[in-house]
Symmetry: C2
Subunit: 277 residues, 2 copies
Amino acid sequence: MEKIPVMINGLPGNVARTMAAAAIVDKRFTIIPYSLTGADIPHDMTNIGSMDFTLVKPDTRDEKIKEILSLYPFFIAIDYTHPTAVNSNARFYVRNNIPFVMGTTGGDREKLKQTLDQGSILAVIAPNMAKQIVGFQAMMAYGARTFPGLFKGFSLKVKESHQQSKADTSGTARAMVGYFNDLGVDFKVDDIQQIRAPEIQEKEWNIPREHLSGHGWHTYTLTADDGSSLFEFTHNINGRDIYVSGTFDAVIFLKEKLLLKEDRKRVFTMIDVLNQA
Amino acid sequence: MEKIPVMINGLPGNVARTMAAAAIVDKRFTIIPYSLTGADIPHDMTNIGSMDFTLVKPDTRDEKIKEILSLYPFFIAIDYTHPTAVNSNARFYVRNNIPFVMGTTGGDREKLKQTLDQGSILAVIAPNMAKQIVGFQAMMAYGARTFPGLFKGFSLKVKESHQQSKADTSGTARAMVGYFNDLGVDFKVDDIQQIRAPEIQEKEWNIPREHLSGHGWHTYTLTADDGSSLFEFTHNINGRDIYVSGTFDAVIFLKEKLLLKEDRKRVFTMIDVLNQA
């Protein structure tokens, strides 16, 4: 198979570094030695393993991209930047006809779709690239749609643990609460228990020490008010390998969609990627 | 609402007793004071609370049913008898035009459907009447159908605990293993861990002592071979209240279907009951 050129944006950030390190040793990809970065990043270059990357800041990127596109006429961008950059990056990709996989969360998601509608490029946009979690969410969404009120009379507890640096509530837990609400359970997103203290994570949750700096553990517990039954769903992710694999699947999916010129849909989700697999 | 006359078959068995005790105090039902029973039951009568039931054995039931039908021209049968009685009871219901809810497991399920095809009555047939479990199974079936291979590269562990008197492997666990197989997981029904020892159930599983004689606890654990992720699904049922509620919903569903003469389908499952709700 021909190698797919990819540009990994968001260096020197953690997730982008993880993606780049994995892509460098993945024979399916050729890595472009440039990366979009934030205005506040003090460096002009970063390196991962033996590879040097030129960091491209917002004020020079419109000029720089001409040079990049002359060297690499086709590539797919992988975006793991910052919530504040989501919308301007999407506009940049559309303006320059660069298909992209948007793994960055946050930003204005409605505007993001509008930007795509105004252009002619394809994108995979997904707040969670872990295929098994996306699949499980799809199963929950199906349940909520097909059997509304199924868990009426049940109480819910939601506990999630993430690395201390994550300030906001888990987006996956928020989405799951929505499904549980449709299933008849009275529960507010504010009632999600967030664990961020490493000592509790290690001692009470038994999260491996090496993953305290990067993990996402979630448990949803439904208890019948009469004590007759309990349903519990858990998904625990250590590190970021699972997101790498899903992101690369999205790149390959996008490449295939680009070859099929007739497809009219322009924005895809991980559900589309899963359905294709 | 008009009360629905029901005949609860399987007395003096445990599950039938539970159903009868609940139906007696449920204002939606009138209880018929007869119950089909097995040839080996030494009694002719049994009582539940203040109500006496005549036990009707296989050798006299064809005669006895004429008397019962002359007293109660319409009723719905609830069958919690014995796996060995499933097929002959179904033939008995069809022969006498008695709509029924079959909660008894086992027997020849294929023949059971054929029996219904030969008659003109309606039935709800379901090996599990717990609505939330049935709904969860439907979500798993959807996942297996929509995302085959989603959990490829994962190892599965299945543990189930039931009262000591249950000799066979959990039917729900068997069905779930089928979905996990479709999701890409290599696992055999024989590898299901069955817990039947009350001391382990109480000490290691923390199953309440009062439910050691009647419970169904199941846990399915998927672990990624690289240790990066774990998915775990648990459903723990104490006692039999959850089956009572589902069975009665099935009776009400069946009554409504009988009123709609145009429906051509004759055999329904708990999924149909859930979809209606």
